[in-house]
């Protein structure tokens, strides 16, 4: 694979842009884009497929974000001591200087509310609420020692996806698209699918920040147009649309000949791509094209809007060369203030919605030979407290507050080490006891699996070379997670 050093090419581009270098078409636009030199040859296409720093294991990513954050203590991190000490006050040593999002007063420990069992050849201990996922435990690389600096949803989601707890930085999908381009030029390179409500931090978590807008995630919708404004207006059929786009491009060719403006040539290409996308995107999003057995495997129902559908869509998209598919599922913020956000009713209901499709996604990618090149990541933006919340003193429902100090995330495929558990929390699951993994470590590891040195995947903005993993706290690739 050709070695391809984005930062230095970027520098060359900038220098040529400002100097008397011999640039071809689209130089001005590319000066703004700051993308790699091969793109300078006439065809101004910032999302053309390109090679990373080294041969990566994964070619695409499906990131499943369970927005609100599920309880690791019911699903991934079994703590028998919590059952033993259930109802007792949380030891003071944990509470010194501690801030909670909602808990007030001295909280008490809360037992695991659902069972656990050992799954797969590896004997990975997983929650009984995820039986089907347990069936593919040997594909999972479970990290029990994740930690974050943020304990509110929006900043924690921003940190997870953009590396900064504030708005304004590019999302991981944008970085990956910036680095790798897209293999299918009839579809957006970075697709976002949302089941339920939009996550707390809004669209900033799939934005392009200071990267050019072309790298931002495109939210494909499961009802209405899959891409905004994809459908022709009522009264315009395909022939009509072809005629109009053909005429626009004929007119633009006349204009390009007169002005010599390379941007006009680019616009012609983009209108052609838009036209192809109008056909390709609905085809990719059409679940009815899947056979009944596959739909059954996921529990997908064409026409509905569901997490199961989004998992199947994610497979269809990566199969077609989409680089980064971001799934968000809403409803995991289990505070226990009522039956719709508690651990006894709501958590099993939510697990019932995701267990089968997640297992199906892994199984389906495996049988199609795509799992090794597709990295799946699944988790929330932080964890849940080992103590009960009991908001305003009400004890009718059981729930847990936001917990940044320890949580679990799993990966599968794409060069992640299957059947492996990394890290460990203390006996109460409060803090990390062994092998902590920060959010930026996770990001560095994901980029590594894609073939990037996270320190060299940079973009210059406001005079500084920015990167996903920041410059201050050194992030590291967690080698133990690699197959």
């Amino acid at each position: 694979m050709m070695r391809h050093d984005l930062p230095s090419l970027h520098a060359i581009t900038r220098r040529q842009f400002l100097g008397a270098g011999s640039l071809g078409l689209g130089a001005l636009a590319l000066g703004e884009l700051g993308v790699a030199a091969p793109l300078l040859d006439g065809q101004v296409d910032p999302v053309a497929a390109r090679s990373p720093h080294f041969a990566g294991r994964a070619k695409s990513v499906i990131y499943v974000h369970l927005a609100g954050s599920p309880s690791q203590l019911e699903l991934y991190d079994h703590k028998p001591d919590l059952a033993r000490l259930h109802g007792t006050p949380c030891p003071d040593e944990y509470l010194k200087g501690e801030r909670f999002a909602f808990i007030k007063g001295h909280p008490e420990l809360l037992r695991p509310l659902h069972g656990f069992g050992k799954r797969g050849q590896s004997g990975m201990e997983l929650g009984d609420l995820l039986p089907q996922l347990g069936g593919v435990a040997d594909e999972l690389c479970l990290i029990r020692s994740m930690h974050t600096s943020q304990f509110n949803h929006a900043p924690a989601q921003l940190l997870l996806h953009t590396g900064e707890p504030r708005f304004g930085s590019p999302s991981m999908g944008a970085w990956v698209t910036y680095g790798l381009g897209c293999e299918n030029r009839n579809l957006p390179s970075f697709v976002v699918l949302v089941s339920g409500q939009t996550p707390d931090a809004g669209k900033g978590i799939w934005g392009s920040g200071y990267l050019p807008g072309v790298f931002q995630g495109v939210q494909c919708r499961t009802s209405g147009d899959p891409v905004l404004f994809l459908n022709d207006p009522k009264g315009v059929d395909r022939a009509g649309r072809s005629a109009v786009i053909g005429s626009i491009n004929d007119l633009n060719r006349i204009a390009a000949d007169r002005s010599g403006d390379p941007e006009t040539a680019t616009r012609i290409a983009q209108y052609e791509l838009a036209h192809r996308m109008q056909l390709a995107a609905p085809e990719a999003m059409e679940l009815a094209r899947e056979d009944a057995a596959t739909r059954e495997l996921y529990g997908a129902e064409p026409g509905a809007s569901s997490f199961a559908n989004n998992c199947l869509l994610a497979r269809r998209l990566v199969e077609r060369g989409v680089r980064y598919v971001q799934l968000f599922d809403w409803g995991w913020d289990g505070h226990g203030t009522n039956a719709s956000d508690d651990l006894v009713h709501q958590l099993p209901a939510k697990c019932g919605q995701v267990d089968r499709p997640l297992a199906a996604l892994i199984t389906d990618l495996r049988r199609r030979g795509l799992l090794d090149q597709t990295l799946i990541v699944c988790g929330g933006e932080f964890g849940r407290t080992p103590v009960a919340e009991f908001r305003d003193g009400k004890r009718d429902f059981l729930g847990r507050d936001h917990h940044p100090h320890a949580f679990s995330i799993w990966m599968a495929g794409g060069g992640a080490r299957g059947g492996h558990v990394h890290g460990e929390t203390d006996d109460l699951g409060y803090r990390i006891a062994r092998d902590p993994v920060s959010v930026r470590d996770l990001q560095a590891t994901i980029l590594h699996l894609l073939g990037f040195d996270h320190e060299r995947l940079t973009y210059r903005h406001n005079g500084l070379d920015h990167r996903l993993t920041g410059v201050q706290e050194p992030a590291r690739v967690v080698k133990d997670l690699l197959a």
Binding site: G24, A101, N152, D200, G202, G213, F229, N231, G240, Y271
Partner: protein, 708 residues
């Protein structure tokens, strides 16, 4: 060579070249953030100190003793510096050798030196020149063996100045009277008419709202609504009144502290109340108050000084000479206000506007006995306060005059002081960028060491000095630029410039570029006859697709505006930070979460889908077709083209349009239901539907979407 840039008057001085090379290749590891091997190459004095190895990287005047020269030439890969990327070239090594041999003289970064007015170039006497800027441009062109392009035709010029100055294309009537005006000053009067138009303020407010991160919501999770549009109208009014930029600065940063403070100046301080406010449960108000204060520091520096201060929040600036404590000293100016991230956004003030009474958040200074003590924060963490600091400005820049109060007002005075090397340059450069596509400093958001040097340094300084000394007169600045011969060139790329200056940094032709998001929407509304010219007031909600606003915890609904409110200029569109108006975003508008000095223009298929299929644009195509449907097809097609592009179609263009009309007419005749859907019932439906297809094609031409 690293810094040999076209347009400058010869190679850069040795010291400047050496400093730029060291910044580019060394400071990442041996600068303000990381002092690897205890080596900091910021300045000759620091670089001459013994490093961890005991060696001195630079021994001024003694190349043989300078470890830096040995390491950059080392054969051993473990020894060679820099360890990453290409080794330095022979020329680069020679440069550093010569610089050290010359005593390693320091050269202050160009933008930290106060501009002085340069001599007028001899070329200013050339017949081509109309304005002072033209002599500088012509000199650089001739130095490269180039000549300017001929002047653009008059219709193109009118369309250009109209789009540039008021963000709207001219009407056909405006064009007709301009073409009929044979007086020698017809162009000048057209410029003055546009500068006096109230639409001028609407157009020039948009980039300022990006800088001020203006939005109609609070941001963060709940992203609740915020009523602060009266400030947006203040900006439009101030620009229309041509408020001098120094006053514009003082009122927005310290309007409550000025000697003659009144309600108008106080409401201007809402500028810095556009920061995000977090009302999520359990949030620490102090944490988010501090986040807002830090955002004010960053925005102030980006907006006025063209320098990024964000990084200095956590550590010394890696490239520029700004210390960690400098950040917190400056922050103290902005840390003494009463607002505290509370749900009610206090303090607010009642405001009476032409659109009724409202109330907006403003800045209010804490009383003396409640002033906060500002600490330097280790790594920028609220939990790690270090020593207390007093309000002040960085020693690397111009001095803070003792005559100024040490508060926000003094801070504002410091920003617009004649001793400030940056603000005037930053502002004239931004105006230049708005009109010519690329700034004289291409990195208009970064004037520090890592920014690009100006293409025409003397021109930049000439403009900056005259702007400052001429009373910070924005309209006069823009007037000079658009009156220039440089600006009036045709936008045709032909001739030797394609080879010699492919990126047109020398401006051998007028730059064409796609319009900004707002101007694309507003132009389509104008030529289709739909545009409402109503100004100001509460934000409006033109049609947008369902489901954009299903953000959590926030019951607010997108209630599509009725009647003419659907067709207001884009600047009045309700701006929700977590879900901004989607078609504008696809056309590169920004979410306004943080200060944005420069939008990046993209050219994507998604933008094509907006102008083809967004119901707002379809509505424009329908209206444009309806306005001519009483004409025969050929005449109707020519009329729509002329309305949109202010010229008759060429024969080739006319051929394309007529073929499209014929094909669409045939298609709609075979599908009368489609024709009725598109153009209603009646015997003219097929004609009108086919004309609508032609209208849509016209509104999607590159020419319509571009500033010529």
């Amino acid at each position: 060579m690293v810094a040999c840039v076209v347009g400058t008057d010869g190679p850069l001085p040795l010291a400047e070249s050496a400093r730029r090379l060291i910044a580019e290749r060394c400071l990442k590891c041996h600068g303000g953030v990381r002092e690897r091997g205890h080596l900091n190459l910021h300045g000759t004095e620091r670089a001459s100190r013994p490093a961890a190895s005991g060696h001195r990287a630079i021994v001024p005047g003694d190349p043989a003793a300078s470890e830096l020269l040995r390491r950059i030439a080392a054969d051993d890969a473990d020894e060679r510096m820099p360890p990453e990327g290409q080794a330095l070239t022979d020329a680069e090594r020679a440069l550093l050798h010569d610089w050290i041999a010359a005593g390693a003289p320091e050269s202050p970064h160009w933008s930290f030196v106060v501009p002085v007015q340069p001599d007028r170039p001899a070329e200013a006497n050339d017949r081509w020149c109309r304005e002072p800027i033209d002599g500088f441009i012509l000199r650089s062109l001739r130095a490269a063996g180039l000549e300017p392009s001929p002047e653009a035709d008059r219709a193109t010029l009118l369309r250009r100045i109209s789009l540039d100055l008021i963000g709207l294309p001219p009407t056909e009537d405006e064009l007709a009277s301009f073409l009929a005006d044979a007086a020698p000053d017809a162009y000048e009067r057209a410029v003055d008419r546009l500068l006096a138009s109230p639409h001028y303020g609407e157009r020039w407010a948009a980039p300022w709202l990006d800088i001020a991160r203006y939005a109609d919501t609070q941001g963060y999770e709940k992203d609740g609504n915020r009523t602060i549009w009266a400030w947006r109208d203040w900006v439009i009014d101030a620009l229309n009144a041509n408020m001098p930029f120094d006053h514009f600065t003082r009122e927005q940063l310290a309007g409550d502290l000025l000697p003659g403070a009144d309600d108008r100046t106080r409401m201007a301080t809402a500028f810095h109340r556009n920061t995000l406010n977090n009302t999520e449960g359990g949030t620490d108000n102090e944490e988010f108050r501090m986040a807002a204060v830090m955002d004010r520091v960053a925005t102030t520096w980006n907006a006025w000084m063209g320098l990024s201060m964000q990084c200095v929040q956590c550590h010394a600036h890696p490239y520029d000479d700004l210390a960690h404590a400098d950040y917190y000293r400056f922050m103290d100016f902005l840390n003494q206000q009463a607002d505290a991230d509370t749900d009610d956004e206090a303090p607010t003030m009642p405001v009476t506007t032409a659109h009724g009474a409202t109330s907006i958040p403003v800045l209010q200074e804490l009383p003396q006995d409640r002033r906060r003590t500002t600490h330097r924060l280790d790594r920028g963490a609220l939990t790690s306060p270090a020593e207390a600091v007093a309000a002040g400005t960085p020693p690397a820049l111009h001095a803070f005059d003792d005559a100024w109060p040490r508060d926000r007002r003094g801070m504002a005075e410091w920003l617009v002081a004649s001793s400030n090397p940056l603000t005037a340059r930053v502002i004239v450069n931004r105006a230049w960028e708005s009109l010519f596509g690329t700034g004289l400093v291409a990195t208009s958001d970064e004037f520090g060491v890592m920014g690009e040097p100006p293409s025409h340094p003397e021109l930049l300084d000439d403009l900056a000095v005259r702007f400052r000394e001429g009373g910070w007169d924005m309209k006069a600045l823009l007037r000079e630029l658009v009156m220039s011969a440089t600006y009036r060139q045709a936008a045709v790329r032909a001739g030797p410039g394609i080879e010699r200056d492919p990126t047109n940094r020398l401006l051998w032709h007028a730059p064409r570029r796609r319009l900004d998001a707002e101007a694309i929407r507003d132009s389509a509304l104008l030529v289709s006859g739909l545009l409402s010219r109503t100004m100001g007031g509460t934000p409006v909600m033109p049609p947008q697709p369902d489901g954009i606003w299903n953000v959590v915890y926030n019951g607010s609904q997108w209630t599509t505006s009725e009647g003419a409110q659907r067709h207001r200029r884009a600047i009045y569109t309700f701006w929700r930070r977590s879900a901004p108006y989607p078609s504008l975003m696809t056309l590169d508008a920004v979410d306004r979460a943080t200060c944005t000095v420069r939008r990046v223009r993209t050219n994507t298929p998604l933008a094509a889908l907006v102008t083809l299929n967004d119901p707002a644009f379809v509505e424009c195509a329908v209206a444009l077709a309806q306005s001519v449907d009483g004409l025969q097809p050929e005449a109707a097609i020519d009329a729509m083209w002329h309305r949109a592009l202010l010229r008759a179609p060429l024969d080739a263009e006319r051929g394309v349009l007529r073929s499209l009309y014929a094909a669409e007419r045939a298609r709609y005749e075979a599908a009368p239901a489609d024709a009725a859907t598109m153009a209603g019932d009646g015997d003219q439906a097929v004609h009108r539907a086919a004309l609508t297809s032609v209208a849509s094609a016209i509104l999607n031409t590159d020419e319509f979407l571009s500033r010529p």
